[in-house]
Symmetry: D2
Subunit: 180 residues, 4 copies
């Protein structure tokens, strides 16, 4: 079964990005998702590469074991949250041999406001292009007004979003098959 | 004397960004620079804001005490290093009251290759625009081939770069005065 | 009286960007606005610079006569409409002496959908930074759902948008004064 | 034989982008290239779509007849030249049925300076993502110092660039096969 690591770009416990990712997982049974904890990945520092920290090693192994990568992220200051970008930086190294290199990817960005994290979404694309990761282009996923889409238990209550996420997950599965 | 905090976007001890920043400091005596350690700033997590970690508090205080901010950064994966973006994220909060808000800024990006970190430079600009930070536009600073500009003691050996950094520091001082 | 040229990034007669610009003009009596026709500006071609077409000359003169520039633009393909970008290209030349150089600017982007032209807005910012044009950062203006804001005569019917545009025009006037 | 339309982002007769494209064509015999004249494409204007100008119709037909698209472009004001963006805008419409939709693409950016048109390259990528065009990610092509690569007859004189363009053309041919 195709394995997809999920990197959620927010550490907040009740993160709308995580809820969005969880909702997509339920709606996409044909893929096997593995949520990684990016908060446990320490900062990239080239000086440590000769003897990498245990958290880098295990994180890179989990990424390397997957067939594809799903990013579901908040937007901080009109760009990618630092904690998520650091996870990309760690998994992109060592240079030319990183675990992310060439893996198919998809991006969902979320926000409480209307814009749906467009800035984070496209800044992340620029990094994934560098890593030669085929990144699904359509459908785009800008989940705005994320604060009004879930009930108190974190279940998706918005039908339009449910339909969209099912379609997105399905398209991603097809995209992975095409780019394997 | 005008006080400028310096955020260096690389944790590597022999970082070319840090060497570039140090060279600029020597060439700009009219400004008082304060180098902050972004590697000591833990990840932003909204859940911690009610009772922020000590490292956030002290970092935010140092930023708040400054008149302006200088970013000197490497480029990781065609964008801002995660560790630097996290520092921006922490110093940008709490929302609407962050220490960075409205402070004049300048950006120098560096790389070993020819392009000089253009991707990091402009992604960072997008974040600073959101934080209402007037950011110096000209001269632009893309320091390419950074591996060939310094001697073994980290001293700048390239005359063209020295002239450029002196001009840049001088322009930044004038820019801060205009935007205070 | 402070003179502002307005460049509308859409040639459509009933353009929502033009309607938005017209609404802002009514709400900002302290500025004197001059709408330029970017559809009349022929393509930039370096070969013609020695003997520039009449449309370039008159367009550049109108821009040069202004104190500031307001861009109100649609988004085409997640970026700046080609016709608007060409107007910027023509007014930016000859290199180092272009009419736009250094003039204060503001950007409003519009769209029929929710996102409000974020992609066009920030791509344009990257060009204005190169032209050393101080560009107002806050308030940002992403006018989404632009199809539902006006009546059949092109009058703004949405109170929130009216308040916002009045605030934006007022902030731009102050921004121009600060950056003159 | 696989047919590739070439859109050159500069109207200058001695354009380095055109010379670069011509050099690549010679080095890539397995693809059949068709150079289109974007200077002949009039501005996109939604009002004309019901009865499109002849230049739009013929341009769209030439694009539609191709299997893939190669963009070779200068950078104007740190972004895509307006004349090239307009060609994209015209070929992207009517909405949902444009001739570019879904076609594999590659981008080469050029500049006289060191940076090689990075800003134009990545802004264009954002538009192509919207048009669901799989865009080759590696190798990236930022052709800097383009003024020193050709002799008076427009022939490529730089061996490193020749090797790179041959490799790029070859990779693009493989990329098109994979994405058909």
């Amino acid at each position: 079964m195709t394995k997809v690591v999920v990197l959620v770009g927010s550490l907040r416990k009740e993160s709308f990005s995580r809820k969005t990712a969880k909702a997509l997982v339920k709606l996409t049974p044909e893929l096997d998702f593995d949520f990684l904890d990016i908060g446990a990945v320490s900062y990239f520092n080239q000086d440590l590469e000769a003897n990498p920290p245990a958290d880098w090693v295990s994180f890179r192994e989990r990424v390397a074991a997957a067939d594809a990568v799903l990013f579901v992220t908040a937007e901080y200051n009109r760009s990618v949250p630092g904690v998520l970008k650091n996870a990309v930086d760690v998994a992109s190294r060592p240079y030319g041999k990183g675990a992310l290199l060439g893996k198919p990817a998809a991006i969902i960005s979320t926000s409480i406001g209307a814009i749906g994290g467009f800035g984070a979404n496209h800044h992340l694309r620029q990094s994934l292009a560098f890593l030669d990761m085929p990144t699904m282009e359509q459908p785009e996923a800008y989940i705005g007004h994320a604060g009004s889409l879930f009930d108190d238990d974190g279940n998706l209550t918005n039908d339009g979003t449910r339909d969209f996420l099912a379609k997105f997950g399905n398209a991603f599965a097809a995209f992975i098959r095409k780019n394997e």
